[in-house]
Amino acid sequence: MANVRGCNLPEDVYYLIEKHVWAKPMDGGVIRVGMTSVAGKLSGGKLAAVTVKAKNIGQEVKQGKSVATVESSKFVGPVPAPVTGVLLRANEQLTSNPNIAISDPYGEGWIAEIQANAWDAEKGVLVTGADGVAAYQKKMEAENISCQ
């Protein structure tokens, strides 16, 4: 777990840096998706709701399109899909406790799972490992974002 400007950025997930989301391959081609600690900071630190549109479950979502929405008192915005695939499920814990998406963003606070169509091809636009964290750090420095 790397700590960059006060933000936790683990090296074992894939980041879509521009959108502040992460993807993590699970078993059977399933990709778990969540928001990064940086997104949590940008959203104001206290979420009112994290919602996956129920009718989208079982439907294909394209890379970059919204899989969920995040609401706080100072922010509303999408959680874009880091990969294309069928939206399998939402993390139901978020319904009663949306803030785990911020307090435990890479663990209990994951947002949705997607059955990826073309992970090997699409992961090329994501970054991971030490290089990925370094690229994320560069963006945070350029935009003067920190979690402190």
Partner: protein, 122 residues
């Protein structure tokens, strides 16, 4: 995921500041959910689109001005339409309005409403 159309009809204006944040917030939220979102301004709502007006209205004391909510909605891709008749009601010239707004007649509102899955009015 189809881009379903939704519309928010905004009739509230500067005389009721507390009613002027949520409609924009709901519009931004709908855009984040990948809806194709239009806000249609009429009656007092059109006054919010006067240049400089939204900056002076605060839905909550110490909070953000309406302009912040308006700009977030525009950045999220919400389309802004205003009713031509309401500019007459409010004695506003077209050049007094922010450039992001497009003027349309009431018939356009009816056609759009028919195309929309949901229409909310504030």
């Amino acid at each position: 995921m189809a881009d379903d159309k939704v519309m928010i009809v905004m009739t509230s204006g500067p005389e009721t500041p507390r009613r002027c944040a949520t409609p924009f917030f709901f519009a931004s939220l709908a855009a984040a959910m990948e809806y194709d979102v239009t806000m249609f301004f009429t009656i007092d709502g059109t006054l919010l689109l006067k240049k400089g007006m939204a900056e002076t209205i605060y839905p909550k004391a110490g909070g953000k001005p309406v302009s912040a909510f308006l700009n977030e909605a525009i950045e999220a891709g919400v389309k802004m339409l205003a009713c031509t008749a309401s500019t007459e009601l409010n004695d506003i010239a077209l050049e007094d309005l922010i450039p992001e707004v497009k003027m349309v007649g009431g018939a356009t509102m009816w056609q759009l409403a028919e195309d929309c899955k949901t229409v909310l009015t504030f």
